[in-house]
């Protein structure tokens, strides 16, 4: 199905002038979306963008009608985009107003604005349809986006817009980072939070409107949401996240447009979103900082530690072990036999665990100040946590056999 040479051509910008321009636009857009989206995610307002993008539809419809009224073609892209931007702003203002002025929470406000603006947009589309002017060709593509039938000057308009958005994002990213990362600090250092928030929303709107024609209003939010969520798995630092997210967005735009240009019936918008979604799934599963597998590995390792220690201490005290997980861990590590009697290594390890436990106990008695911290390190070998000098001190007090010492 996939034509390899066409794909390589598209990847290397050799698939025709329009495709190259669109690809550049999509990369810039992806980068801008990922970057702006990071701030949106950090301010916990990701889905505001959904309301915003759906709210563009009535604007597009009205712009079309107005332009047709004045005898234009109605399909004039910049005109449609200006209409989209204006009604998106109205939608955004409605969301803000509903959340600030009424008891409604943001989710309800977003959903209400999204659906009623979209409904209005649909009404206007049907008006345009029944007026029989200029088909919906120009407008239908705003729903799902399309790059295939794009005119050259449309492609250039979009690329220029994307460049402009990317530039704005680049200039404002420091200020946004500051506000998202530490609101109080930002306030005390003289940054106007409300103004920055407004700025953020303007950037979101710019990304949305620019992406409208390529990705479509239903999916354009994906450009703002998926890359930052994916990036979140790789890092805990805002700055790194901004970079990773922008990268994920740009890569999605690039591969997505290339795929779309080389495979028949592969609409660019949805494909870009799917590429981003694949990157998200990969990050969710495999990222080292917060990925699922690594997190699973860490919490399992910790849980083993707990069971091992508790099991060994029970062996030493000659108590029966009932907890099934504990038995599994001890068996797996060869500390007990199938009949639950301790092995030789088990007894040695138990002796050692008791010694550790006893040393920790002495340490805590002597250093109540450290108790709080130390309580959390208790499962680690004492040698990893204390200096040899400290341990030697403890060993001095530790004279009798391990079992005789107070074990908690």
């Amino acid at each position: 199905m996939i034509d390899a040479t066409a794909f390589v051509n598209a990847l290397t910008f050799n698939a025709g002038y329009n495709t190259a321009i669109v690809a550049i636009g999509a990369v810039l857009l992806g980068w801008a979306g990922g970057t702006v989206g990071t701030f949106l995610l950090l301010r916990q307002r990701s889905l505001v963008s959904d309301a915003l993008s759906h709210a563009t539809l009535p604007g597009v419809g009205i712009a079309f009608l107005v332009m047709a009224w004045f005898g234009g073609s109605g399909r004039f892209l910049p005109g449609l985009l200006i209409g989209a931007a204006i009604s998106a702003m109205l939608g955004l203002a409605s969301v803000e107003w509903l959340t600030r002025r009424t008891r409604l929470q943001s989710d309800a406000a977003i959903g209400a604005v999204l659906s009623s603006f979209f409904g209005l947009g649909v009404v206007l589309l049907t008006v345009i349809q029944s007026l029989g002017i200029g088909r919906q060709a120009g407008i239908g593509s705003f729903l799902l986006g399309s790059t295939s039938g794009m005119l050259r000057n449309e492609a250039i308009t979009l690329a220029v817009l994307a460049l402009g958005v990317a530039f704005l994002v680049f200039v404002l990213r420091r200020q946004l980072t500051l506000v998202c990362f530490d609101e109080t600090f930002a306030r005390t250092s003289g940054i106007d939070i409300r103004r920055t928030d407004l700025l953020l929303m303007l950037l979101v709107m710019a990304v949305t409107v620019t992406g409208l024609r390529v990705v479509g209003l239903i999916l354009v939010v994906a450009l703002l949401i998926i890359p930052p969520v994916a990036a979140r798995f790789w890092t805990d630092k805002t700055n790194t996240m901004v970079v990773v997210s922008g990268f994920v967005g740009a890569v999605s735009g690039f591969i997505g447009t290339a795929l779309s240009a080389s495979v028949p019936n592969f609409p660019a918008g949805p494909v870009i979103v799917l590429v981003a979604a694949c990157l998200f799934v990969f990050s969710l599963l495999f990222a080292p900082a917060r990925g699922v597998f690594y997190g699973l590995y860490r919490s399992r390792a910790f849980s083993r530690k707990v069971h091992r220690r508790q099991g060994l201490l029970a062996i030493l005290r000659g108590e029966a072990i009932y907890d099934r997980d504990t038995i599994k861990v001890l068996k797996g590590e060869g500390y007990i036999n199938a009949d639950a009697t301790p092995t030789k290594t088990g007894l040695d390890a138990a002796e050692n665990a008791a010694r550790e436990e006893a040393l920790w106990t002495i340490y805590l008695r002597d250093n109540p100040d450290a108790a709080y911290r130390a309580a959390r390190m208790r499962l680690d070998p004492i040698a990893e946590r204390l200096t040899t000098g400290e341990i030697a001190e403890l060993e001095k007090q530790f004279s009798g056999p391990a079992a005789a010492l107070p074990v908690q």
């Binding site: 995610l41 309800a108 998926i226 917060r290």
Partner: protein, 305 residues
């Protein structure tokens, strides 16, 4: 009563009302649980469900389509939970990721398959076609009692009525669990309320209603009706039961006024065409919410914002 009126106006209006009321009833709990956008997510995901069902069965018959859509809706709810819990992603963002990805998948599959030959497109999925659900056999009031004529009623009417009954039954039987687990999940859990089950049942029912309604009236009405009437009702009162009654009333008004405005209303202002009824109903519900936000007695809420 004028036969044409019954067949061409009353029946589609009734279908709109049934869809709107079912959604509004469930919407109350979605809004209170801050899960309003679940309806949005679930409705978007209906598209890939239908496309996959088509690819598997090769037919556009209703059964597989509804099944596919319901499966996709449930799958998306599950995926959202999964992304939220596994990835510790905030709920809004998790929703955004899942529904855009699935919707994109649906569009790509649609483009790749040849569903277009059997006339199915995204636009249809979004706005439905309420105006076409007419009852041509219903020539006069007496046909309401004639079996053959009744058999010709749009099947969507029966399905939506069934969905509404299911919703009401769910609310009646699970009322206490629903209220307790919505208000204070931790307490509910400690008191032995099956919190997860109730939540899952609510979302499943939203999915079922979304799918049934979508088939009749398109996704947009579903989303609007799941949120707007309940949100507006929230601004009217501080008690739950009155809130639910208000939401039903608002849903009713939106459906009736919306349908009227899209057809006869347009004629009234002298334009020679009618516009999308689904879109109009959604817009009217938004307007009602707008009015309530300006003037409803409890718009500020207890916390004063």
């Amino acid at each position: 009563m004028d036969g044409l009126y019954i067949g061409l106006v009353l029946v589609p209006t009734l279908i709109g009302v049934l869809a709107a009321v079912s959604c509004a009833l469930l919407g109350n709990f979605l809004v209170l649980r801050k899960q309003s956008l679940m309806g949005d997510a679930v409705s978007h995901v209906v598209l890939p469900g239908i496309v996959v069902a088509f690819i598997f069965t090769g037919s556009m018959s209703v059964g597989p389509m509804l099944l596919g859509a319901a499966a996709a809706a449930l799958l998306s709810a599950l995926l959202i939970e999964l992304v939220r819990n596994l990835g510790k992603v905030e709920p809004g963002a998790a929703m955004g990721v899942v529904f855009t990805a699935l919707f994109a998948l649906g569009v790509v599959l649609l483009e790749q398959s040849d569903t277009r030959d059997v006339h199915f497109d995204v636009e249809h999925a979004l706005y439905g076609n309420l105006e076409s659900l007419v009852w041509l056999a219903g020539m006069d009031a007496s046909s309401m009692f004639e079996p053959e004529a009744l058999a010709d009623l749009p099947p969507q009417l029966g399905r939506l009525a069934l969905a509404l009954v299911a919703v009401i039954a769910f609310l009646v039987f699970f009322w206490r669990q629903l209220v307790v687990s919505t208000f204070d999940p931790v307490f509910a859990h400690a008191a032995g309320v099956p919190v997860r089950f109730v939540g899952a049942a609510l979302i499943s029912l939203v999915a079922v209603v979304a799918v049934t309604a979508f088939e009749a009236v398109g996704a947009i009405i579903t989303i609007a009706m799941l949120i707007c009437p309940a949100a507006a009702a929230r601004l009217m009162t501080n008690r739950l039961l009155p809130q639910i009654l208000w939401s039903v009333f608002f849903a009713l008004v939106s459906a009736v006024v919306g349908f009227w405005a899209a057809g006869s209303g347009m004629e009234l202002i002298g334009s020679g065409f009618s516009v999308s009824a689904a879109g109009m109903i959604a817009a009217v519900s938004g307007a009602i919410l707008g009015l309530c936000a300006v003037a409803a007695p409890q718009r500020k809420g207890a916390l004063g914002h």
